[in-house]
C-alpha cells in the first residue's frame, strides 16, 4: 500500500466514531465603524509601536518624501509597475535599478542595493499590518526583502480596521507577504528587538488621495 493510501486508511480507522462537524460560530468582529481619520490614527500608532517610520502625506508630496527617505541611499530598486513619477525627485547620485520580467536583478545585485520602493495591496490598522501581494507595483518578493531599507507606499483608501475586512481584498493564491514593522526577534529573553534579516528600516508613507 502506498504511504498516501495507508495514511488515509489510518484516518478512516481513527475516525470510526464519525465525529460530527459543527457550524463555525463567527461571532467575532467583521465590520468596522471607524472613519478614515480614526483608521489613519490607529495604523500610525501601531506602526510607530513597531518602530517603523511613518508619514501621512498627500499624493502630490510622494516624490518629495520618497527623496527625503532615500537621501542617504546609494541605489534603489523599484518594480516595473511603480508610478515612475514617485522617484522623480530623487537625488542624481541615487542609482535607480528597475526589476522587471526578463530583466531581473540577481540576488547579489539586490544585496548591493541600499533600498527598495514599493506600493502595497491592503493594510490592517488594528494589528499594524501591511500586505504585499506581488502586483506589478509591488514586484516579486525578493526585491522587498534583500535591500536593508524598505520605503512602502500605503494608499489610505486601502486601509481597513480589521483583518476579516482585509480578506476579500486579497488574492490568496498570489504570493503574499504580511509586514508588521521592520524585522525583529523576541528570541533572547522574550524581549523584542528590531533588526535581524529582513529590512532593518521600514518607512511607511500613508498617502491621501491615492
Amino acid at each position: 500500500m502506498s504511504a498516501k493510501d495507508e495514511i488515509l486508511s489510518r484516518i478512516r480507522t481513527a475516525l470510526a466514531d464519525t465525529p460530527v462537524t459543527e457550524e463555525v460560530p463567527r461571532e467575532y468582529r467583521t465590520t468596522s465603524a471607524m472613519n478614515e481619520e480614526q483608521l489613519i490614527e490607529l495604523l500610525v500608532d501601531r506602526l510607530v509601536d513597531y518602530k517603523a517610520g511613518v508619514e501621512v502625506i498627500d499624493a502630490a508630496q510622494i516624490p518629495e518624501f520618497v527623496a527625503a527617505k532615500l537621501k542617504d541611499a546609494s541605489s534603489v530598486v523599484y518594480p516595473q509597475g511603480l508610478d515612475s513619477n514617485w522617484l522623480s525627485a530623487l537625488d542624481k547620485d541615487v542609482e535607480q535599478r528597475l526589476d522587471a520580467p526578463g530583466a531581473r536583478l540577481s540576488v547579489a545585485e539586490l544585496d548591493a542595493t541600499s533600498a527598495v520602493v514599493t506600493s502595497s495591496a491592503v493594510s490592517v490598522a488594528e494589528s499594524g499590518t501591511i500586505i504585499l501581494d506581488g502586483q506589478p507595483d509591488q514586484g516579486r518578493r525578493a526585491i522587498s526583502l534583500v535591500p536593508d531599507h524598505h520605503v512602502c507606499i500605503v494608499p489610505i483608501s486601502t486601509i481597513v480596521q480589521l483583518l476579516p475586512e482585509a480578506m476579500p481584498r486579497l488574492s490568496i493564491t498570489r504570493p503574499l507577504t504580511w509586514i508588521s514593522g521592520p524585522s525583529a526577534t523576541s528570541d533572547i529573553e522574550l524581549e523584542r528587538v528590531e533588526g535581524v534579516h529582513g529590512p532593518r528600516t521600514l518607512d511607511v508613507l500613508m498617502v491621501r488621495g491615492l
Binding site: 484516518i11 470510526a16 462537524t21 526583502l145 528570541d187 522574550l190 523584542r192
Partner: protein, 490 residues
Amino acid sequence: MTQVFLGMPAGGQGNLFESEPFPKAAHRELGNTQMRKNLRHATHTIRDKRLKVVGELPDWEALRDAGSVIKNNSMATLEERLLEFEKNFTARGGIVHWARDADEANQIVTDLVKATGSTEVVKVKSMATQEIGLNEHLETEGISAFETDLAELIVQLGHDKPSHILVPAIHKNRTEVRDIFLKEMPVVDPNLTDEPAKLAEAARAHLRKKFLAAKVAISGANFALADTGTLGVVESEGNGRMCLTLPETLITVMGIEKVLPQWEDIEVFMQLLPRSSTGERMNPYTSLWTGVTEDDGPQNVHIVLLDNGRTRALADRFGRTALNCIRCSACMNVCPVYERTGGHAYGSTYPGPIGAILSPLLTGIEVEENGSLPYASSLCGACYEACPVKINIPEILVHLRGEDVDAKREKHKLPTQMDLLMKGGSWALGKGKNIGLLEKALPLGRLAAGKDRKIKKLPGIAAGWTQSRDIPAPPSKSFRDWWSDEKESK
C-alpha cells in the same frame, strides 16, 4: 475504558520520547538555578505582554470559539481536507509527498535534496523537522543543515537541545548567548556585547552569505489551506522570508493536522496566534505561497505530509483535540511546572502542558517512556485558560492517566500495586468499622516518623508520594476515637 491496541494506527517515532521518567529529569533540572532564573524572567515577561494584547480585543473569546470549532471540523473531515489540499497544491505546480513516519519523511527529504546536487540546506524553524530528527539524519547523509531562526541558531551553535517550541533557547540568557556566539561563530567581533540588538546583528552577519547562496531551503508550515492549496509560515526575523523566497528548491515538512478547511479561516488564526505566542498584535512577517509562482520565489516546491503518530492521536476520541494545537506556546508560558523544570525535563520535542498530552498521544501511552508525562501537572488549569483554541489540557491529562493505568494493568496481566491499593482503599472506606480497624495502626506511623515527626519515605508505589514531599506523623489518637471518647464522657 480499556484501550484496544490491535488495529490502532501506528505510533510516532523520532524525538517524541522521554529519555528518563519526568520526575527524575525534573529533579535534576530543578537544580539548575541559572536556567530557572532565565525561565522565570522570560515566562513572566511574555505573560504580561500576552495579557495586554489579548485584553485589547473585545472579541477574544469569540475568536477562540471559532478557532476551536474550525479545528474540530478539520480533524473530523481530515481525509477530504488533505485530498482537497493535495489537488489544489498540485494544480499550482507543487509536489505532494506522504510520509507514514519519521524515517520515511527523512528519506523523502534526503532524496529531494540529493536530487538538487546540493550538500547544504538552510532551514526555517520547524517543529515537525525537529520531531523527526531531520538535521541529524541529513548529517549522516553528508548534507549540512543550517538553522536560521535566531533561537534555533543559538541551540545549534551551542550543541544544545531546544527547550521551548517558540523560543528554543529560552533557557539561555543574553550573556550565555554571547558566550556561545564568541566560541562558535567562525567570524565574530571579539568585543561583542550581550545587548540583544548586538546579538541579533551578529546573527545577521553570520547567516547573510548562507541565505544569498542557498539553493535549497527546508521549512515547516503553520497552516495549509485546503480550498486553495496555500501554505503559510509565520515568523519575525525575515529568515523565513529569505528561505521561502531566494532558493530554487523549497521543501516543506508539515504534520497532516495543520490543514484548515477554508482560506478565510486564517482571519481567525492570524489574530489568535501572534497574540498568544509572542504577545504581539501581529508578528513582523507572514508568508503565504500557493505552489509555484512563475518568476517569483522557488520553482521546485515540495511538501511532505507527515503522519508520525498523528492518526494514532486522532483515534483517541477523548484526546484528539490535542491535534488542534497551533504551537503558540502560551500553555508553557503560564505553566507553573514548566516554569520550574524547563523544557528539557519533558524529553520530547513538545514540552510543557501540550507536550505532556501530545507526546504520549502521538506515541501511544502504552509506550513506557511516555507513561510519566501525563502526571507532569498539578492540574491547575492555567493552560486551558490560555489556549487560543481551547484545548482542555487538564481533562486530557486525567484521561491519559487513566489510560496509563489501564495499559500497565494490561501489560502485567496481574493486579498491580495500584489495583491493590485501590481495592484496599475501597475496603477501608466502605465501612466505618473497617477504617476504625485500620486506625489502630496509627501508632506504627508515629514510630515510622521518628523524632522530627515526618514520614520521608513510603514503600512500593506509594514512594511516588514521598518523592517530593514528607507526610506529617499521624496524631496519637484518630478522630473517630476522640469522638467516641467525647460522647462517653458526656
